[in-house]
Structures are given as C-alpha cells and as structure tokens.
C-alpha cells in the first residue's frame, strides 16, 4: 500500500489544492498566497524546504563576515518602531568620528571581513562630500560598502535637489558596491502612515530599488513585521517585491525579521517564533524569483535561527561584529563565527563564506 502523504488529510484536514498548485512549480497568486496562512507550521515548512532545495540543491548555507556601522543616529524620521534614533539637537545624538571609523574598519579586517553594512539616520547636517569621504575611507581600506537604504537615498535626493539616479551615481562613483534592503518595513502605505509617517512611501522605496537595479547595483530586500500590519499586508509586501524582481532581477536576498518593541514608542509584545517561521516559509514560497532567504538570528536567537534553515532559509546573514539598531530595543544576541558554523553544521549543511553580493568566497 502506498503511504499517504502526511501533509494533507492526516495532519490538517485541509484540501490539497494549495500544495498541488505549488509542487509543479506554478506561481502562487494573491488568493493562493493568502490561503497559505491556513496551513500548519510543518506543512508550510516542508513546502518551503522543497522550494529551497529546488533553488539550492547543494546543501550549503552561506554567511558573511561584516559589521553594521551606523555613522549617525540623528534622524528626522522619528519612526515609532525605532529605539535607535535621536532627533536633531538631542544630547546623545552622534556622528561617527573618522578615527573611530578607522578603528572599526581595522578590527573588521582583522576578523577576515569582506565588507561593511553602512547605515544611518536621516541627518540633515550631512552633505554629499561627507558621504563621498565616508564611502571612500571604507573602500580604500579594502572593504566593500554595502550601504544605505531607500529612505536615506530618497531623503538626500530631496535635500541635495538631485534625482534618485543622480544620487545613486554619485555614491557609486565614490565606491558604493551594493544596497541593503532596509527601511522597507511593510510596503503598504496604510501601515507606513501609522508607523513611520515621515519616511519614504512604498512606491518611493520600490523606485529606489528599481533605479539601483537599472544602474547594475545588487540590493537585498527586508520586511519588518509583527507591528501594525495584517497578514494580508505581509503578502502584499511579498508580491510587490516579486513584481519588481520580475522586472529587474536585482534582488539578491530577502530578509524578514520581527519588530522588537523594547524602548520604542509603538511598544507591545514581540511576535513569537512560530509566526516568524510561518512567515519565513511563506516568503520562500511566494518569492520564487529571489535567490536567497536569510535568517534573522539577531531578533530570533541562535536556536530559532538554526531551525529557520529547515523552513526555507539558505543564508545565515552576517557575523555582525557590531549591531546597534536591534540592540537598542534590549534584544542582544551575539554570535561568533565559529558558533554560526556549528549551528549550520548541526542542521546538516556546509557553512560557506560569501560576500555582500552573495558570491561565495
């Protein structure tokens, strides 16, 4: 007797339509994607794992050695989910000094780092020449600059009276190598108006990425969830990323992570691990055209991050020698490189170093 597949009748009593739609490699439409929420954790996980193995048949998990350098915490945006920023004039606002920068770069080089994740607040005091010097310093030290985010770029275009394309060209000329996908939060303006009304809207976020991709830059994309959005709005977020990726092919990776309410004005309870894993698995299933899916150990901790590798993720993110933004909420996980490799091996994968463009080193 043929064993019955465990996912459908025995476990959940759901009809098989959604998974049947998935398995031949067909694309999930909006309706089907939203119905994924009806599936249980293990069903979603095994479907996501299948999708991951189809994309990455080699059983390896990549990670990068880097640090997050936050050159300033002064920010006019004032997002309600952020515990890191300080408004202009605040006594504990800062702009990173050049000697401090040099020391951070040296330490990263000593740890075998290949690049820097560079991000900061929307600081009206800093002009193009500051950024040219900042990028140049990092590039000249032999490290790649994985820098900024769409909200920063939109802010500068406005401040410096340039087009987005001109801003990006200026930064690339200074040495920018790729752009992280931060500031996406939830790409739905209903949510953005409530949580981050002074930040770029979803169309602008996508426009920055489309422009960068057109100029040949690779970028990642993120989603911060578990605050004011609905599950359906998470799906809309994924569909917007997928649509742009169909047009440009410029996204390297998708990185979902959960809102950490500590010390933020939004507050509330953090989302749990099951909802994180379910959202991660759904991301893998919907984003069939984005190559990599990254775990967020900094918000989930090492144990859940390891499990995430069984729920569709194929990248462990970075060693993050330094991280300030999540740490400001009081969530303080730290993982040395050796431990990342152990976690990956215990899950049955080969750890592989990569750079910020996801090329293996």
């Amino acid at each position: 007797m043929m064993p019955r597949p465990y996912e459908i009748d025995e476990i959940d009593g759901i009809e098989g339509g959604i998974l049947e739609k998935l398995i031949p490699g067909g694309r999930l439409d909006r309706l089907a994607a939203n119905r994924l929420w009806d599936l249980d954790l293990l069903t979603l996980g095994s479907a996501a794992d299948l999708a991951r193995r189809r994309l990455h048949p080699e059983s390896r998990v990549s990670y990068v050695i880097d640090r997050n350098i936050n050159y300033t915490n002064i920010c006019v945006s004032g997002c309600r989910f952020c515990a890191f920023f300080r408004p202009p004039g605040a006594p504990d606002g800062y702009v990173l000094g050049w000697d401090d920068l040099a020391a951070k770069l040296k330490e990263l080089k000593d740890h075998g780092g290949s690049g820097v994740l560079l991000q900061g607040g929307l600081n009206p005091e800093l002009g193009p020449s500051y950024y040219e010097r900042l990028i140049g310093c990092i590039r000249d030290s032999g490290l790649a600059v994985h820098g900024f985010s769409p909200p920063e770029l939109v802010f500068w275009a406005d401040q410096w009276a340039l087009t987005l394309e001109e801003v990006i060209r200026l930064l690339v000329a200074a040495g920018l190598s790729s752009i992280p996908g931060g500031g996406a939060e939830i790409l739905m303006d209903r949510v953005r108006r409530l949580a981050s009304p002074h930040k770029c809207d979803s169309a602008q976020w996508l426009e920055v990425m489309a422009t960068a991709h057109k100029l040949g830059l690779k970028t990642s994309a993120t989603m911060m969830f578990g605050h004011l959005e609905t599950r359906a709005e998470r799906i809309e977020h994924l569909l917007k990323i997928r649509k742009l990726q169909d047009e440009t092919g410029g996204f390297t990776a998708f990185i979902p992570w959960t809102f950490q309410p500590g010390s933020t004005s939004l507050g509330g309870e953090p989302l749990g691990a099951v909802e994180y894993l379910r959202t991660l698995a759904i991301s893998r299933l919907v984003l069939d055209n984005v190559p990599h899916l990254q775990v967020s150990w900094v918000t989930q901790g090492p144990k859940v991050a390891q499990l995430a590798l069984k729920f569709g993720a194929d990248d462990f993110g970075s060693t993050m020698l330094e991280e300030n933004v999540v740490a400001a909420t009081g969530v303080g996980f730290r993982l040395p490189r050796e431990e990342i490799e152990t976690l990956i091996r215990q899950a049955g994968y080969q750890p592989r170093l990569r750079d910020h463009r996801y090329n293996l080193r």
Binding site: S46, L271, G272
Partner: protein, 365 residues
C-alpha cells in the same frame, strides 16, 4: 499528482505503523533519531499528539520551591548541588518556605512543585512538617514533591521501606512525584556522570511503588551530554515497559542539558534541532504516557512554542523562582504570566487549557 513526501524514505514505514497504531520498536526509535528529516519526524509526532489531545495545549499555574541545594550526590551534569558549608550552599528553614507560600497566597496557584538535593542531615520529620505546613496554609493546592531520588534518600534517612516512606509523605499531604533524577538509565553513563546516584532500578522502583500506592508521577530524561542516541531509545523503552505495568506516569519531560557551571562545561548542550527531534521521538515511542511536556525554563519560550508543533501538548507552568536550571546558565525569564502562556499557545495554533497536576481542566477564575 506529486505532493511533498517524507524526505527520508525510512519514515514511510514508520508512518504506516503510526497510522495503524502499531507500537514502534527500538530500530524505529533509532531511525527516527538518526533521520535528517526533522519536519517529517515532527509530522509523525503530530499524528499521535492530535489523536490524543487534538489542538489542546496545557499549562499550569504553579510555584516552585527548591528548598535546599545541599546534596550528597556529586553529579557531573549538575550546577545546582553544593556540599554543606561550600560557598553558595543554602537551605531554607520551614519558616522561610512557609513565608514563600504565604507571599503568594492570593494567587490562583493549583500546584506547588518541591524539589531539592539529597541533604545529609535534615530529618525525615522536616519533610513531613514541610508538607503539612504548606497544606495548612493552602489546603487546596496539589503538592508535587520529591523526585524518586529524594524519596529513596528519605527512606534511608528514616529507616523505612520506600512504600512506608511514600505512605508517610502521602499522609502528610504529598499528591504526586515530579519526574526528575531519571537522567539516562544507561549504566555506562551513570558510572561516568553520577555513580553515587540512585540506580535506574531504584528510580523505577520508587516510581512504580508510588503508582501502586495511588500516587502519580512524571518521568524525565536528561539528554545532550555524553549519551548515545541508542541510549536515549533504551531509556524511553524502559520507561514504556514500566508504564505498561503500573500506568502511573502522567507526563514525560525531556530535559535539555545545560552545561554552564557543571562538571561538563566543555560541552555545548543540545542543538535546537536535537531538542525538537528528542521531543518528537519521545511522543512516538512513549505511546502509553498521556502527556509530553516541554519545560520552557530549559528550552526558552520560543522553542517551547515551536515544540507544540512537534508532539508536545504541555508547556508547564507560570513558574516563579526556579533555581536548578538558572544556576546552569539558563537565560530564560523566571516566570511567564498566564496571559503570556496563553498567547504563546494560541500563536502556535493550539487552544490553551489551564490544568491542575492531574490534568483536570481548571476553569479560569
């Protein structure tokens, strides 16, 4: 139409047994532990979990009392135990214990969970007085007290048989025994890690004597130190045999080894994958033990939540002031509120049910 199947073909034959309610054997247990298909093993455990409990997930409003860490056993895996007079050694007086109970008198606690070391000097009357005194303060609470290891130690101290010791404790208010002290039954491991401790035969003897006297108990397995997977399977099967005979085990609780501050601090402790697989295999092998508990103090609330999708139906309690695991470096909070536990369970897709020690439903006050 091709649907996702078990990645590990060995799981198919086990699935057929599970579906047909056929008991799994030692080889099945090993195949499950050795399988790389974590989600497949979890899905099998869920078949059993849902058959037994549907979507219900239990928790309890309880209070822990670790009355003393002074212990004549020097188990290598323990960060809690101290010799008398050693720095960090403590023992609570009866007055201190009663004050702790008194301090939470107005909380709707249904169980007080009492565990300590094998103290060299405390007289048997101390333990009887402890139970009687707590019962006087809170007549309605259930006292889950003293592991089989402590009971055997008390019977030595009192010069009574195990049965008479248990009867005296029951008379004083004992309701059931916690499951600690089973460790891993393998003689090889016990010789290495806890040679002075009560033997497996002794542990099972106390538990089965308790069952025959009408006292329920739990069972545990400390895993993730030096034991092999086969030794875990043997432990589970031995418990299953004992349960076939006396039927008194209410819940099985695998305990993840925490290496910090122990004699095995060079080890790293089990991975999250090992934690979930151990829970799932336990659910599958222990077909005659009704409940499988994930002790969130050891696993952390995140993993405890995930475990509800890997065969677990109980996340233990609200717990305040737990000392044994925290002295081994557990980073978990000291207590979770009822609301936090209920939210954690709901988010895992389960229905939260408050229970008492004997798994009777407690209607929320």
């Amino acid at each position: 139409m091709a649907l996702p199947k078990f990645q590990d073909p060995d799981l198919r034959s086990i699935y057929e047994k599970v579906a047909a309610k056929v008991r799994l054997d030692r080889e099945d247990g090993l195949a499950l532990f050795e399988s790389a298909d974590l989600l497949g093993v979890g899905a099998l455990a869920q078949v059993v979990r849902r058959r037994l409990h549907g979507r219900r997930a239990f928790y309890i409003y309880n209070q822990h009392v670790n009355y003393s860490n002074i212990c004549i056993n020097g188990c290598k895996f323990c960060a809690f135990s101290r010799k008398a007079g050693e720095p960090g050694a403590y023992e609570m007086s009866l007055e201190e214990i009663f004050a702790k109970i008194e301090a939470r008198r107005y909380e709707p606690i249904t169980e007080i969970h009492i565990v300590g070391g094998c103290h060299p000097d405390l007289p048997f009357s101390f333990y009887l007085e402890m139970l009687r005194g707590i019962k006087r303060l809170r007549p309605a609470v259930h006292l889950q007290a003293f592991t089989a290891v402590e009971v055997a130690h008390l019977s030595d101290r009192a010069g009574l048989s195990v049965a008479d010791t248990l009867l005296a404790l029951k008379e004083a208010g004992l309701g059931s025994l916690p499951g600690g002290g089973a460790e891993v039954f393998s003689p090889r491991i016990r010789q290495n890690l806890c040679p002075e401790k009560l033997s497996p035969e002794g542990w099972l003897g106390v538990a089965q004597t308790a069952h025959r006297l009408g006292l329920n108990s739990n069972a545990t397995m400390l895993y993730g130190h030096l034991e092999t997977l086969a030794e875990r399977v043997d432990h589970l099967i031995r418990l299953r045999q004992a349960q076939d005979e006396t039927h008194g085990f209410l819940a099985f609780i695998p305990l993840a080894f925490h290496p910090q501050n122990t004699g095995l601090s060079e080890l790293s402790g089990p991975s999250a994958i090992d934690d979930l697989k151990t829970l799932a295999v336990s659910r599958l092998l222990l077909d005659n033990v009704p409940h499988l508990k994930a002790f969130w103090v050891m696993l952390g609330p995140k993993l405890a939540q995930i475990s509800l999708c890997f065969g677990v139906d109980d996340v233990d309690g609200t717990v305040m002031e737990e000392r044994i695991t925290h002295m081994a470096g557990a980073q978990t909070p000291q207590g979770l509120t009822r609301a936090q536990l209920r939210a954690l369970i709901r988010e895992a897709g389960c229905e939260p049910v408050e229970r008492d020690t004997l798994y009777r439903v407690v209607e929320a006050a």
